[in-house]
């Protein structure tokens, strides 16, 4: 009974936060609602015993991606009024699409032709079961190559983000590392042989 109460309370918070994301006037409030969404989702994933992903969601999303979002929102000087104009113009279309999506998913779930009983709970996990250990065994075993591709993708994303936002300003004093490293003593210092001069 307790898991169900927890599920319903956190699901309510999640849906309310989702509404906050799409309806709030200020993008900062939207981003903070999205943070709440991710946190409650992490809790719900904990409830169905996906512990590793719950922690990853909280750390990676709340800790990194949403902070990035907040930084960008606060750095840009956005004219909110202009962006809000005509907000409800296509609201009916949005509501219609949302209702259609819910109906479609409900249809799939309720027709019971998936071969899966959706009203059944999950089988209890054996004692001493570690979600992280099992995921690690899969990730570094069966899915080792996809993992490497994912790592490569992140590297490409880093390079792309830096290359996109890099800006060369004129007249800026910068170091030229290759010239610094390539400097020779013979080019910098000239040794001159001469006789000592008398002090007058």
């Amino acid at each position: 009974m307790l898991p169900l109460i927890l599920f319903y309370s956190f699901a309510t918070v999640l849906v309310a936060a989702g509404l906050g994301v799409i309806l709030s006037r200020n993008p900062v409030h939207s981003a903070l609602s999205l943070v709440l969404c991710f946190f409650t989702s992490a809790v719900l994933w904990l409830l169905i015993e996906a512990e590793f992903l719950a922690i990853v969601l909280a750390l990676v999303y709340v800790g990194a991606v949403m902070v990035l979002f907040l930084f960008v929102i606060m750095m840009l000087d956005i004219d909110l009024e202009e962006l809000r104009r005509g907000f409800t113009r296509y609201a009916w279309l949005g509501a219609l699409t949302a209702a259609l999506v819910v109906l479609e998913v409900a249809g799939v779930v309720l027709t019971r032709k998936l071969g899966i009983d959706v009203t059944r709970g999950a089988a209890p996990l054996p004692e001493g079961y570690s979600n992280t250990r099992e995921l690690g065994a899969l990730l570094y075993g069966v899915y080792a190559y996809p993992l490497e591709i994912a790592a490569m993708l992140l590297l490409v994303a880093i390079v792309a983000a830096i290359a996109l936002t890099l800006r060369h300003r004129q007249g800026l004093k910068v170091q030229n590392i290759s010239r610094q490293v390539g400097a020779r003593a013979s080019e910098r210092v000239r040794l001159v042989k001469m006789d000592a001069e008398d002090r007058k």
Binding site: F38, L53, V65, V72, I73, I116
Partner: protein
Amino acid sequence: MITLGHMLTLSAILFALSVAGIFLNRKNVLLLLMCIELLMLSANFNFVAFARYLGRLDGQIFVFFVLTVAAAESAIGLAIIVVLFRERRSINVEQLDRLKG
């Protein structure tokens, strides 16, 4: 007991919310990106739920990769938004007509 149906229904509601959000906030690129994040979260919900209720962990591995791709996507998307704002002083989607598309 939390059933598969509970999780699927919740994820469908979340998905519908984010689709509606894309319609409502169609002028603001930042909010469009956020709605897409929410959309991927609801898809991840399905993966996690099926992984748990079918007793196979591969779904959770897939969520891991989806998280990776989503992080890369939002990083590049935000970089594009920053460059866009520098160029046009605005992130209104309606004004992005330079490609004449």
